[in-house]
């Protein structure tokens, strides 16, 4: 079954080249200040939640305005993509700061006991975002393999045991999202492309988390690395759509994707999220055209390379507007040819 057929079976019809976002947007200044106040104990969790809801509503309104077809909640409630889940689950301790790149740091959690899902983590936020739009909002969480790889482990005997234990717990999150009505779920697994020798662990983890559940699955799995090292095995991940970074690496792997017999849907990163410069719309348009020269247009979902949380609000908006405008131009061209 193709991706579009699966979506149709779930009651979802999307236009050609559906626009989406990877997950995060920049946090507005008011929310950043509120978070700092909350950390200092100056405001309550209810007050922080109010700021988070306002910011989520702002991003939902923006996505509606520019025509994002599969919007995201923007992750206004998260710290980072592993720390947030570690805080919500059992078995983790808060870790110290470690570097991500340049002057960017994150708190890397420490697994000190059996990891446990204590209840829905993202579902309330998904419901809140979905209540603000008629478009299908993407559910999102970080998968077992990446959570393992981006945590310190002081409990499990090895990496495989850690990843699979987490994958079993994350399946409960998928089930909770589906029960709430979510039909498009993204399992973030950016660590998958790093260790080719462990691709079987990642595949098994994804199977445990997703297989047999009635939803359309995306994985944000291939970014800033050497994707060719995990192909074609990575295609065995139990998902319908691969979300990949292309703009940062200047589309060097696109033809390779075709050569490996890529037959999934592709969320196509067409703006670079690690630069303050707003990508030129004409250039973004050319990137989309390049992709549909190589892969079927009905499989392509334009989006940013990665989450936009490291950009400012204005930069995030500018980059998303460039995607929306470029996509509309290409769509118009495609429909005029039909």
């Amino acid at each position: 079954m193709s991706g579009r057929e699966k979506l149709k079976s779930l009651g979802i019809e999307l236009p050609i080249l559906p626009i989406t976002a990877v997950g995060s947007y920049a946090k507005p200044e008011g929310l950043t200040k509120a978070r700092a106040k909350f950390v200092r104990g100056d405001i309550s969790s209810d007050e922080l939640r109010k700021h988070q809801e306002e910011a989520t509503a702002m991003w939902m309104g923006f996505q509606n305005e520019i025509g994002v077809d599969v919007p995201v909640d923007g992750e206004m409630y998260r710290t980072d993509m592993v720390e947030y889940f570690a805080e919500e689950m059992g078995g983790f301790e808060k870790g110290g700061w470690v570097r991500s790149y340049g002057n960017r740091y994150y708190r890397k959690p420490i697994i000190t006991g059996e990891t446990t899902w204590r209840g829905p983590i993202t579902v309330d936020w998904w419901k809140f975002a979905q209540s603000l739009t008629d478009k299908p909002v993407k559910g999102m969480f970080t998968g077992g393999y990446t959570t393992m790889d981006w945590s310190f482990n002081e409990f499990y005997p090895d990496r495989k045991a850690t990843a699979l234990a987490l994958a079993r717990e994350f399946r409960k999150e998928v089930e909770a999202l589906v029960e709430a009505g979510c039909k498009i779920i993204q399992v973030d697994e950016p660590a998958v492309s790093v260790r080719a020798d462990e691709i079987d662990i990642a595949i098994e983890a994804m199977q445990i988390t997703c297989e047999g559940i009635d939803a359309y699955f995306i994985t944000h799995a291939l970014e800033y690395g050497y994707p060719e090292t995990v192909f074609p095995d990575v295609l065995n991940l139990a998902v319908d759509n691969f979300d990949m970074e292309f703009a940062n690496s200047e589309f060097t792997f696109l033809e390779g994707l075709r050569d490996f017999g890529f037959d999934k849907d592709l969320s196509l990163g067409v703006v670079d999220v690690h630069t303050h410069v707003i990508d030129d719309t004409d250039e973004v348009e050319q990137r989309i055209r390049k992709a549909i020269d190589i892969l079927p247009a009905e499989t392509i979902w334009p989006d940013p390379d990665c989450g936009l949380k490291t950009r400012t609000v204005e930069e995030s908006m500018g980059k998303m507007r460039a995607i929306a405008e470029a996509t509309k131009r290409v769509r118009a061209d495609i429909s005029s040819r039909v």
Partner: protein, 332 residues
């Protein structure tokens, strides 16, 4: 008691942030400089102070051979490469199997200049009371992380970087450096290129003068290429003991004609290393190399400490001292 000297050494980097405003000052300074809120001179003052602090932390932990923590480095690739002539810095690429990213250099014309490490060394030298090791990313690893145009290849690019390294070593000599660690983790990813790496280093080290050169491999198992490492033109061989369970026995069997730096402490995980277990491994190597008349064995982290939170990094260094004491005690 072994005759050889057990040296406690830092590997290379040290965490640049910690908990609390004081430990975050360098991070804030980088951000404030980027947005123009502080001047370059303001930044320099904070960075120098931070370098002094991380050197003191290493010395307080009992280290004999310290580093400047690579405090000035944006990352292990773009920091040295960005200071060369005719090199531009591009997008991010993941650095080995770490959740960290480096920016990729692109060579636009014949490479000129140096990596600027001698300048970093000079700033830190006055802060250290113990011997200060300079660290530089090796030509081969730089080449493997660079954007290679269609008419290029890693070998010729590595040779170009080797010439820059040669100039850097001259500058380090002039700056008063004694020990320089050249990091070549990519060799473990592409072990078939050992001969290329040897030739690249030969070219670079022609100008090394009296410098003691340590060749560091990490993020992988050096067991299968240990014999190749013994043929490298370096004075110290540094290996990562966290990957291959057979590496210690390989070192014991092959021996060495020069000091070996053992990456005995796991610098990728917070769990504190078991003193007795690590001491037993180090002791095996010490006994074997002592019998061969090797002058030193270094005990150091497996790789740069920036992959650990600062409090854990400090604790790991202290654990190294406990391991050295256990090895010495076992040898009495």
């Amino acid at each position: 008691m072994p005759l050889l000297r057990l040296v406690l050494a830092n590997h290379s980097s040290y965490p640049r942030v910690g908990d609390g405003p004081q430990a975050q000052r360098l991070r804030r300074a980088y951000a404030n400089r980027e947005t123009g809120k502080i001047t370059d001179a303001d930044f320099e003052s904070i960075a120098r102070d931070y370098v002094a602090e991380v050197i003191k932390e290493q010395e307080d932990a009992g280290l004999d051979l310290v580093t400047d923590g690579l405090v000035y480095w944006y990352d292990l690739i773009s920091h040295p490469a960005s200071r060369l002539d005719n090199v531009s810095i591009n997008g991010l690429v993941r650095f080995f199997d770490t959740n960290t990213y480096v920016r990729q250099p692109e060579i636009n014309a014949k490479i000129g200049g140096t990596f600027g490490i001698a300048g970093d060394f000079t700033k830190a030298k006055g802060q250290a009371t113990k011997e200060l090791k300079a660290v530089v990313t090796g030509p081969y690893t730089l080449a493997r992380h660079s954007i290679i145009k269609s008419n290029g290849d890693p070998g010729s690019l590595a040779m170009s970087y080797a010439e820059a390294l040669g100039r850097e070593l001259e500058a380090l000599n002039a700056a008063g450096a004694t020990v320089v660690q050249i990091d070549e983790p990519s060799l473990l990813k592409f072990p078939g290129d050992a001969e290329l790496v040897r030739n690249v280093l030969k070219r670079a080290l022609a100008s090394k003068g009296n410098l003691t050169i340590s060749l560091a491999t990490y993020f992988g198992d050096a067991t299968t290429i240990y014999g190749e490492l013994l043929n490298m033109p370096c004075d110290i061989i540094a290996v990562d003991l966290q990957y291959g369970p057979g590496l210690v026995e390989t070192i014991v069997q092959h021996g060495s004609d020069r000091p070996v730096a053992l990456g005995a402490i796991d610098a990728r995980n917070t769990k504190l290393d078991d003193t007795n277990a690590v001491a037993a491994k180090v002791g095996r190597v010490v006994d074997a190399l002592d019998a061969k008349g090797v002058a030193e064995v270094h005990i150091q982290p497996s790789n740069g400490l920036e992959f650990l939170p600062r409090d854990r990094a400090k604790r790991k260094l202290e654990r190294m001292r406990e391991i050295r004491d256990a090895v010495a005690k076992a040898g009495t």
